[in-house]
């Protein structure tokens, strides 16, 4: 029989307000379990490749969040200040440019960015793997940061309608401090964290997709073999693709499930890591919405 304390823990975890924390634990635990499984069944060279790919993908996702937050914050403030000062022409030019980026499908923009990066790598300008990862993340963030910029503008517009904005101005507090500290840092942190989580999920999805496309479709100069290994490029390898193709064996022979989990581990591992992370990120973001009534 359960003790009172363990029942309380179960109830607390079941409480809907804690959903984001629960999913965070589940994500870490899931990847940990996957890791343990790999230690037993996956061969060492593949294990080290998968480990590097997972690390690079997660790091790239975090870098995209950092770049998007920085670019989004700066561009949100830029548009706000241009709007406030009634600089009509620069305001129109900047919003026109941002809307143009918005209209370009993200994958197309990133693909073009990767072509530029490849030429820089071929010319020997981008050599260090970390620098390559940094530039890949920057390219992705160029097509994601507008979500953050929109949020920043929305939060400022929301608080500007309230009395406290005018009251603070009357108290002699500088507008830049009201916007950056009082509105964005103190009163919009939950919104920004939520957006950061969503951007992380989007970045992972886009990066994996573009790396997969480059590895499958372009086999010569514009190749992801020029870039550091990520989950997408690992999934595009022939052996990983064969592992994924093996899933359809289950439709004809259900007992093949056990073979999938031991013999076709590399591809399944990577696919699972991508999908599981995306599901967890989605639920963490939802949990934040519930917890903070965003």
């Amino acid at each position: 029989m359960k003790t009172g304390t363990s029942r309380q823990v179960v109830l607390r975890l079941a409480h809907r307000g804690e959903q984001h924390i629960r999913w965070m634990f589940l994500w870490i635990a899931g990847l940990g379990l996957l890791w343990m499984w790999d230690l037993f069944f996956l061969n060492r060279p593949a294990l080290s490749l998968v480990r590097a790919a997972l690390f690079n993908s997660l790091l790239a996702g975090l870098l995209v969040v950092f770049f998007s937050m920085t670019l989004g914050w700066a561009s949100g403030l830029l548009v706000y200040s241009l709007e406030k000062r009634k600089n009509t022409l620069p305001y129109i030019a900047v919003t026109f440019f941002f809307n143009l980026i918005r209209s370009l499908p993200q994958i197309v923009g990133i693909l073009l960015g990767y072509i530029v990066l490849t030429s820089l790598i071929v010319q020997g300008i981008l050599r260090a793997p970390f620098l390559q990862l940094l530039s890949m993340s920057f390219v992705v963030s160029l097509f994601v940061f507008l979500e953050v910029a929109d949020l920043i503008r929305e939060r400022i517009a929301h608080y500007k309608q309230l009395d406290f904005f005018d009251a603070m101005l009357c108290c002699g507090i500088k507008e830049s401090r009201i916007v950056n500290v009082e509105i964005l840092r103190k009163n919009s942190l939950a919104h920004l964290v939520h957006k950061g989580v969503a951007v992380f999920g989007m970045a992972l999805f886009l990066q994996c997709s573009i790396d997969f496309i480059l590895s499958v479709g372009l086999s010569t100069e514009v190749s992801s073999s020029n870039f550091p290994a990520t989950l997408g490029s690992m999934l595009a390898r022939m052996d990983s693709k064969q592992d994924i193709l093996a899933i359809s064996m289950v439709f004809s022979d259900l007992s093949y499930v056990s073979a999938l989990c031991t013999r076709h581990l590399q591809g399944l591992n990577i696919a699972f890591a991508i999908v599981y992370t995306l599901v967890c990120v989605h639920n963490i973001a939802n949990g934040l919405v519930r917890r903070y009534h965003l």
Binding site: P105, F205, F212, G217, V222, K241, I244, L245, S248, V275
Partner: protein
């Protein structure tokens, strides 16, 4: 409204101009690059008595180079490989072939691209319609479940097992718990499919189904890449936000239906969620839904852009030959920039036309809401 349309047309004109300039520049760059490469190796390939197709001659030439220029072995190796690639290009580069089909954007290629583009637009339209409908249905379903006070199946399971035992209901609880676990598992599988990138699902089914068909592409477009589930979530958030507004409580006080249990008298039916157009007569959900839908409509632009990203991923990653984005990828590979830019502009045009249609529709609805029409 006119300002918005002017902005859309302006951005179309701007992109067309940028692409035209880029095209001229890339053509010039390509020609200059080809000429420079040919000039760099020209003095060597015409040396009499040396056949670069013969390995012995190549080795002799390499040794002679190293004797004349011993300080720069890397440059010597580069020269050898440049000569080799120049020789190869004489056989493989379509620009240097006389009998090959004409390169670049010809009328024949334009005709082929138009057919592919129309197919792409058709798939886009169908998937957009299905996801727009599906996202709203799923969003309402989640909202109704939230109003019923129900959480996820795992939450319900945890609550069930942590509830104190009351004599004689062990079997019922075990049955309920296992039923919840099965439902939770199925929901997990559904989530895994909905969040899977299209190429994962595509390759999983490639050996069993015909994955190159249009129907499979539409299906993949709807269920993969997280499109449906993300936009269902957006619609759900809008419904939840509307639900917190004062008019909902006022309506309930004035005796408008507020029962959210399935098929209960005055409650919600599955059919009303799935039917088109959706109606919840005499129920507060009707007003919550209409207001949320009005706010959701502009996100259709964002959804369209993301959907195009998804379709491009599907066509490129699954190597579906004869489709627009596969052609785009191939032409990037063969450096046929005029075709690449034409396809990109066509895709951009599709996004912009969708934006204009959504803006016009939203503007009309806004006028109706504000009693200005």
């Amino acid at each position: 409204m006119q300002g918005k349309i002017a902005e859309h047309i302006g951005s179309l004109a701007f992109v067309a101009l940028v692409f035209a300039v880029l095209l001229v520049y890339l053509k010039h760059l390509e020609a200059a690059d080809r000429q420079a490469r040919a000039q760099a190796v020209a003095p060597y390939v015409s040396i009499p008595g040396i056949d670069f197709g013969n390995p012995r001659d190549r080795a002799l030439f390499n040794e002679a180079l190293n004797l004349f220029r011993p300080a720069s072995p890397a440059a010597n190796d580069s020269l050898i490989s440049a000569i080799e690639s120049y020789r190869q290009s004489r056989f493989t580069d379509p620009n240097l072939k006389t009998g090959a089909a004409e390169r670049g954007l010809t009328w024949h290629v334009a005709g082929k691209l138009t057919v592919m583009y129309l197919q792409f637009v058709l798939v886009f339209g169908i998937v957009l319609g299905l996801t727009f409908y599906g996202a709203q249905s799923l969003g309402i379903y989640r909202f109704v479940r939230m109003k019923q006070g129900r959480g996820s199946y795992v939450e319900e399971f945890l609550q069930l097992v942590s509830r104190p035992n009351v004599g004689g209901e062990h079997l019922i609880r075990i049955r309920k718990a296992s039923f919840l676990l099965v439902k939770g598992f199925l929901k997990g599988v559904a989530y895994a499919i909905l969040f899977s990138p299209a190429y994962v699902i595509g390759y999983s089914f490639k050996a069993s189904f015909e994955t190159n068909s249009l129907l499979f592409m539409i299906l993949l477009g709807v269920v993969s890449n997280g499109l449906l589930v993300n936009y269902a979530n957006k619609f759900y958030t809008l419904l939840a936000t509307e639900n917190r507004k004062g008019y909902v409580e006022t309506a309930l006080v004035k005796n408008l239906g507020g029962e959210f249990f399935w098929n209960a008298p005055g409650g919600i039916t599955y059919r009303s969620i799935l039917s088109l157009p959706r109606h919840f007569p005499g129920h507060v959900l009707q007003h919550i839904y209409l207001n949320a839908r009005h706010q959701y409509f502009p996100t259709l632009k964002e959804q369209a852009s993301f959907l195009i990203t998804g379709l491009i991923i599907i066509e490129m990653a699954l190597n579906i030959q004869g489709h627009l984005c596969y052609e785009l990828l191939q032409n990037i590979l063969y450096r046929q920039y005029d075709i690449v830019l034409t396809i990109l502009f066509a895709i951009f045009l599709l996004v912009k036309v969708t934006d204009i249609l959504v803006d016009v529709r939203h503007h009309r609805e806004e006028l109706r809401y504000e009693n200005r029409n």
